[in-house]
Each structure stands twice: as structure tokens, then as C-alpha cells.
Symmetry: C2
DNA sequence: CAGCATCGATTACGCGCGTAATCGTCAGCC
DNA sequence: GGCTGACGATTACGCGCGTAATCGATGCTG
């Protein structure tokens, strides 16, 4: 099941720290997003239905935690984009960013290091 | 206005060749997608409404062409993903792919070349 | 023990999307 | 010139999403 845009905001909060109560999550995300606490509750429930988060009773309330790792989610999303836009190959994506000047100096440095490593261990 | 998933399939066809008739586009995409020609017509009309394509009368019919460049679209989509998933930085994205072994030998070679260039001209 | 406050669950509603059938119009053929 | 067929335009409809109010259960408190 797919995690929608609004839902992913809630997931990010849970990935940062979990398990957490709904109130706690709402306190973190509602304000910045301009949501009410009710909206956050709805999102959490949809994520439960999608099995993307799990709930553990804690006395009166529930504490929520991700069932999907951020790694897995990021992998799926990234792969999807690369497949749809760049025919599944990563280099053209980077090339695209380099052409449009969207690579920071830090990016370039990190990429250099990365590529060096790649040259090494394979 | 955002281009949806199904709509982007139509756009890809138009980016490949344009201007083209609706029938022509449908001939290319309907089959593989399992769509009827009617569906393709609807998608074209939505893209017209969104100003993502333009139509020029050709006698009895219209010929359609993109108004949005594939470059611009790809840029927006890629930037969106990098912002949402990698805090706007490209290196972590590549790092992610390298960790999950999703870099082909060709990717690595191309990345090396790219990075070399980057080292050069800036 | 009865109310009240607090949570999660249920219900709501408009909008875009995926998918398509139907309608209306216009051009060409008999 | 009326009919038929080919187009584009309009309408349809269920589903997920964004956004939220309301309901119902449950535990605290006086």
C-alpha cells in the first residue's frame, strides 16, 4: 500500500522518534502543516489500516511506531522515480542535476568520495 | 498544475513525437496500458485544461503537442523527490542507490566520468 | 456512582485521478 | 441534401486523499 504525501509527514515524525502517542505526533507536525489534531489522528488511522504503523496500548492510550522502515520507503520512492523518469538508470539523474546547477559544493565532494569507494570495492 | 501518473504516459508519447493526433497517441499508448481510446482522449483533454499540451486544428481533427518541456517536468519531479526524501541534497540519493546495490556497472562508469568533469570545470 | 474529560473510531465531504461511455457536431458520400 | 461515420466534448463513477467534526468508550474525580 502506498504512503501518501500527508501520511508521509506523519511517518517522518514516527521515524524520528517512536513509539509515540498521537498527541505527541500532532504536537510536532500539526502546527507546521496547519493541521488540527483531528487530521493527524485520521492520518495515523489510515497508516494503521495500511499496516505502515503499529499501535501498542499504553494504559489509556496507544503508542505508535513505524512498521515500514524509512530505508525501505525511500528505496521504493527513489526507484520509482528513477524508473519513471530516467529509464531505471541513476547516472542520468545525477547528470540532470549537474546540468541544472543543482549540485552544491558539498554534493560534489561527497560524490567524489562515493565514486572513489565504488571504484575500490567492486 | 501537476501532471498525474496516467497523464504522464500521454506526455511521454507527445515528447517522443509531436504534433500528433489523438488517434496516433492512442495507437501508441492504449494497448500497453490496457486503456481504450476514450481514456486517452480524456487524458489529453485534462492535459489541455492544465495547459500542459496545446492543440492545433488540422482540418477535421486536432494535432497535439506538449507545452511543457520534458526537461522542465523531469527537473520539477526530481527536485521534489530529492527535497522530500533527501533534504534537498543529491549525494545522499546516490549513496542510497550505491548501498542498495542498484548501480549498474554502466552507472558507475558514467558517474565517474561525470564527477571527473565536475572536478574540472568548477 | 455519576459526570466529565480524553482518546481512538467513525463518518463526512469536496477534489483529483483512473477509467470509460455517451453526446453533439461536422464532413464526406450517395 | 440527408445519413453515416469520425472526432472532440461532456458526463459518469468509484476510489484515495486532504481535511476535519462528531461519536462512542473509558478512566479519573468528586
Amino acid at each position: 500500500m502506498r504512503i501518501s504525501g500527508a501520511e508521509s509527514v506523519v511517518m517522518e515524525a514516527l521515524w524520528k522518534r517512536s513509539p509515540r502517542s498521537a498527541e505527541d505526533v500532532a504536537a510536532e507536525v500539526a502546527g507546521p502543516q496547519g493541521w488540527t489534531e483531528a487530521t493527524v489522528k485520521t492520518l495515523i488511522n489510515r497508516l494503521l489500516k495500511k499496516k505502515a504503523v503499529e499501535a501498542a496500548r499504553d494504559g489509556r492510550r496507544y503508542l505508535y511506531a513505524p512498521r515500514v522502515s524509512r530505508e525501505a520507503w525511500v528505496a521504493a520512492e527513489s526507484q520509482g522515480l528513477v524508473d519513471r523518469l530516467f529509464d531505471g538508470r541513476v547516472a542520468p539523474l545525477v547528470s540532470h542535476f549537474s546540468k541544472t546547477k543543482k549540485l552544491s559544493a558539498q554534493d560534489v565532494a561527497e560524490l567524489k568520495a562515493l565514486i572513489a569507494e565504488l571504484g575500490d570495492d567492486r
